[in-house]
Point group: C2
Chain length 768, copies 2
């Protein structure tokens, strides 16, 4: 695998020159999507080299039978998987009688571009076939943001040195598999193949989950820019529909095929209507035409960038990296559908099976909240609200009672999809993130109504969980939480993880705060919620016993909270003294050795201080940072951003920048040798946070005030970002010398910048 | 499954009446074996009902590809499995033209018997076929102890109500599978099928391990007791050889087939010689004849019982139970081959894949040591000695250096066969059992030469492991052992397990004791061993630093050692307050709940006090027993025996008897609803210990003196057992009133009985 082959560019991801070794990595990096569907950047034409095929539809999943070495009570039997969906991009191509396959051609001028500004994927190259014909190809494709069930391809072939026949055989194919299927089974059944004139459709359903999906295509042609439409021969195989068109070309002619495609699913339609709906979509797309669809696409993305862009001057690779992250986050989740969420690989790969982790609440919500309308973050909260019953069921399976909820570690539909006991059953801090997400949202948006309408029910169920999960220690005369795994997954089954205990205490306290607020301000709702949840005031007193007497491991000697009981029994040797040959430890060491070492996979105590920064003095944060950062190996992509933000907050910009670099181009530079499996979508939100909350020092205080403390890495000339703060667009600019704020809204905005209150009138720029 | 269907009998396991529901359980319970090979009590004739087929050859295994949900560094890729071997018992039978199949017959007078005194399995019954023919069947089979590659079957059919033809089609079949194959693969390849006159053989090899096995049969017939030998038709299929004999019978005639069979393997022969060897075995067997082979078998078992029997008067079920345990232990392991060991299921099933656990050293050695020649226990020790290199390799894989050894949790050939990280990597106390086994053997036999010739090398490698595995705790200013699982597997990844820390300290100290003894008494060997192991005296000083400053968790409040750090943070609720509906907790609770509960699967601190009873005052043992016994759920078959022995040692016979009952008839009464999978062989040794060490109070003090403190459960009239003490046979008899010792050797024996020294002259009985 060649690393660092991506050409730096402000707005595009670019690959130049064809190298078969890079195909799978590029298929991940150049992925396209629109939040509702997405796909890897597989070639349209046949390719006999190594490739990882993937096209995905948000919300369409399959419960694959679990593969477990040693069964434990409470494990789920099924593991909901992101599903590779029917292929709609495929076009078999023959030049005269020879199949066109890049793997066997002589290739020149190869260029692949993912244009992030406009939201499309393109390829251009010259290829000489083994039989001598040279062609020039210009291919472009996108998945429409405006028409979110539609994708379109323009694929042009110029006959460079021959006259003859080009055969285009566009097809749709439901005979697809998941690479990560546990038992190599097919997940789809083809129900119907419908032929039309230049139009065709396959109706297929997922096994078990019974999602029905219609995949349609419609074909158009031009030769030298003039529309032509040759007749086609239809081939219907068991799971595949192919139309074969033969186009005569003279030397120098360009034959262009347009393929309009659509996915529609039973998530959004009656099953009986799917075929018609898909045909309607492709007909309309064809009528609108590629050119206009493309124009629409540019406009959609322009709108997205208006409130999401970050501009970095003086470091083109940093500029490309941050835009790539923002672009991929938007491709993965647009926020219009509360049934969807943000999978760790988005629409770029299959790995990590289920789609939703605590990453959403801990890392992604801040990004969507600050770059989009409040309804987007709210939809992410509603996703969990809608799965509350399943979380209660899940907790009941593990022995919890009385409506206590434990949200799953990994899920598609609310059911747990993970089966490593130390994670599934023990990484319960995720439950706290659910409440933190609500808190964060309410703080940012001041939309307390959400607590009243939905949030409080979630919070009550989670408070119940913590109350039951903690137990009184006679020895300590305090409440303890035993047998957990914290965010640092390099410790398992530990007692009194500081982060978990802190979240548990905080969840109960915040729930009681909210209960009190609702009681006073929404008495009718208060009654309704108490009734619905069967909650009594007496029960909340019991919760408070736990939160009031929660135990936290603390070292007098080091004057720091300990990650867990017994942490100081370990040999404490800083990461800097670990030989390079032993890293990453998760590849070099056996698991027991990792567990008994002092090394931290991902921010844990520091994650807590990041969440609740206002509860800890700067000196306290500094002391903990100095204690834990040297022991942290950051072998999770979600770790460096937190350390970067904390470092910035304690005025250590070089450290902050060092940590920022570890996430910013994680995929583009393929640090972990795994980008071929897909991109790390959720950690991209962490990168955004590193800039906005880290360097920009953005916070929203509990009183609702927006705060900035902008700093800039020495390596940059300037950076600027945009925030959508309660519907008001604010642009922040920071250079080595200047700091400016532009209020682009129609309302005066009050900010605190570098601890001073400032007022920015509507539509004004001020320099601080 | 019908429980308690076994008819009580002093010397036999008996089933009366046919119930298809019991077939698989009986296949386990009525298993036969001779230490070198064994098999489940499958029917010879075809059976279309539910059955679990199994025939096993000691030392013949297959490395099945591991099935793991989530891979951890250091896991083995293969899991050596006990192999179901070619079928040699099968005889297809037709009565006239109808296949005889018990599953479709009307059956009366069904009786199955496992005669433990004489070592054979029998069946008798009348069956009426759907076509009306009634037959009476008398079948008998055994695996010869004297000729340990040979098995024999006598199968007689009497024509009750018809005259006609009986077709016998004896066969051998290498087309067999393992039920627990991870990927449903065949493990055997058939190499050659050799036809002879009434003789036949299949040469097959195991894939990957390339063990070659020849399975031969030779057939003989009698009608009404007179030898006849009809001609046969041969059928050779891909993996199967069948001879078909047609025998004419008149009403009232009895046709009897004799099938002599043999397994020979490349463990004991050149591969080229196997076919001849197997033919030689069956020819000889046929020449000796069934009657004489049967007589030899009775004599072999009489000899075994002479030094192994336990007689219980006044409780026939207890009598049957203890003999069943002794019988199965002898069927599993005879001690003549240091390449073999004692699998947890012996030759009665497949489960638990690999064959050797720490069960051997902790539970089985005492039985074999006291009922057989010293060479038997020594062979068990040599098994580990011969695998020392692999144990050193295993430790190196996990990051240990300098010749440190970690013996595997489960093994066939010295390689680790387990992959649950909390066990594979963390249940390291097993390493201590290896040394304890040596200590126990040397103590009992006074054969210190074994330490010199072999044991010390093992001990040095293990001392090195403990030295490296412990680490200095700055916080405690003592050495700690972090991240372990103790014998109580209901705790994982705990710190400072008392049992593990104690064993570690003891192993180092005992190794240094032995080193000193060897230095003074065997100076040449001392030099040889130091050179071979590259050991310096300086290195042993480092070990001693660890053993001298080992930390043990202790509660001042309760005045007991704690099972591990943090144990008292748990809610301590005695098992007696657990609702019955929640037990066994390993079936009713999720794993996390078990882990954070105070419940103990199997003796842990108490296991340590059992091993090192002489290091703890009786009051100390009592205090710990009173603390831990109420928290122990005994969900391991290896637990109650230890509690029983300790209870007896602190004069609590009712408790001792209660615990005894939990192991004594575990399989016969199928307490755990799993006997169909096979019997719990290794825990049977624990039952033996409960009688001899528990009720009998047998100990061997470190000065080599044999000690007894006989007590008797109120429920029994008397019991007696036999001990082979350094070649001297001693019988111990205890009734409610009397206690007698008979010295059956030619040497005066010195004993301590109830704290008084007594001398028993040669061949004398004395009453105490």
């Amino acid at each position: 695998m060649n690393k660092n082959y991506i050409i730096p560019n402000e707005w595009s991801i670019i690959e130049e020159g064809f190298d078969a070794e890079n195909v799978e990595a590029s298929e991940s990096l150049f992925s396209i999507g629109n939040g509702a569907m997405g796909q890897r950047a597989n070639f349209e034409e046949d390719y006999s080299g190594k490739t990882f095929q993937g096209s995905y539809i948000g919300g369409i999943y399959y419960p694959d039978k679990t593969r477990v070495g040693w069964w434990k009570n409470g494990y789920p039997e099924y593991f909901a998987k992101v599903l590779n969906a029917p292929n709609w991009i495929g076009i078999h191509i023959q030049i005269n009688a020879t199949t066109f396959d890049l793997n066997v051609c002589k290739i020149s001028n190869f260029k692949r571009e993912l244009n992030m500004k406009e939201g499309w994927l393109g390829r251009s190259f010259n290829a000489t076939l083994p039989t001598g014909e040279e062609i020039e190809v210009q291919a472009k494709r996108f998945i429409s943001v405006k028409y979110n069930e539609v994708g379109a391809i323009e694929y042009a072939i110029k006959a460079i040195n021959f006259s003859g026949e080009i055969t285009f055989s566009p097809y749709i194919d439901a005979g697809i598999e998941n690479e990560d299927a546990n038992y190599d089974e097919f997940f789809w059944e083809t129900l119907k193949i419908v032929e039309g004139t230049h139009q065709g459709c396959i109706l297929a359903k997922t096994l078990k989950t019974e999602f029905h999906v219609a995949t349609a295509m419609e074909i158009d042609f031009a030769v030298n820019g003039n529309q032509v439409l040759p007749t086609h021969i239809t081939t219907i195989e068991e799971k595949e529909l192919t139309y074969t068109y033969k186009v005569k070309v003279a030397k120098g002619d360009t034959a262009t095929i347009y393929k309009y495609a659509s996915y529609v699913s039973s998530l959004n339609y009656e099953k009986a209507d799917l075929i018609d709906a898909s045909f309607k979509n492709v007909s309309e797309a064809k009528n609108i035409g590629f050119k206009q669809l493309f124009q629409d696409q540019k406009e959609s993305w322009a709108t997205i960038w208006e409130t999401a862009d970050i501009i970095i001057e003086g470091d083109i690779k940093a500029q490309q990296g941050i835009r790539f992250n923002i672009f991929q986050l938007n491709q993965t989740y647009m926020g219009t559908d509360a049934r969807l969420n943000i999978g760790p690989k988005g629409f770029t790969g299959e790995k990590y099976g289920g789609s939703t982790y605590w990453d959403t609440e801990a890392y992604c919500i801040p990004f969507y909240m600050a770059t989009k309308d409040a309804s987007v973050a709210k939809n992410l909260l509603l996703y969990r609200y809608n799965q509350l019953d399943k979380a209660i069921e899940n907790a009941a399976k593990l022995g919890f009672k009385n409506g206590a909820a434990l949200y799953p570690m990994v899920t598609m539909n609310g059911e747990e999809c993970h089966n490593e006991w130390e994670i599934t059953f023990e990484e319960i801090h995720r439950n706290g993130a659910m409440v933190y997400g609500i808190y964060n949202y309410v703080n940012f948006t001041q939309d307390f109504e959400y607590v009243v309408s939905n949030g409080l029910e979630v919070m009550i169920a989670i408070a119940r969980f913590w109350h039951q999960r903690a137990n009184w220690s006679e020895a300590k005369q305090q409440y303890v939480i035993l047998g957990v795994t914290g965010p640092n997954e390099y410790e398992n089954n530990i007692n009194n993880n500081f982060y978990t205990n802190y979240l548990a205490k905080w969840c109960i306290e915040y729930t009681i705060d909210c209960l009190n607020k609702v009681k006073h301000n929404y008495p009718n709702d208060f009654d309704r919620i108490l009734k619905k949840t069967n909650l009594s005031i007496e029960e909340t007193y019991k919760w408070m016993k736990v939160s009031d007497a929660m135990y936290f491991p603390f070292s007098e000697e080091h004057n720091v909270y300990l990650q867990q009981d017994g942490f100081l029994d370990k040999e404490i040797i800083p990461v800097s003294e670990l030989p390079k040959s032993e890293r990453p430890i998760n590849q070099k060491w056996s698991w027991d050795r990792i567990l008994r070492s002092c090394y931290i996979k991902q921010a844990d105590v520091l994650q807590g201080m990041f969440f609740f920064e206002d509860k800890f003095d700067k000196e306290v944060v500094e002391r903990h940072f100095d204690f834990y950062e040297p022991l942290t190996v950051h072998e999770s992509s979600l770790s460096p951003c937190v350390h970067s933000i904390l470092a910035a907050s304690i005025d250590r910009m070089p450290k902050a920048y060092e940590q920022y670099l570890r996430t910013a181009r994680l995929d583009l530079d393929d640090y972990n040798h795994e980008v071929h499996e897909g991109c790390h979508i959720t950690s991209m939100a962490g990168t955004w946070m590193s800039v906005v909350q880290g360097f920009g020092g953005m916070r929203v205080w509990e009183n609702g005030v927006l705060v900035f403390n902008p700093q800039i890495p020495a390596e940059w000339k300037s950076y600027s970002f945009t925030i959508n703060f309660r519907g008001n667009v604010l642009k922040v600019y920071k250079s080595q010398t200047d700091c400016k704020f532009r209020n682009e809204s129609e309302k005066e905005l009050k900010l605190i910048v570098n601890n001073k209150e400032i007022l920015i009138p509507a539509n004004q720029l001020i320099t601080v």
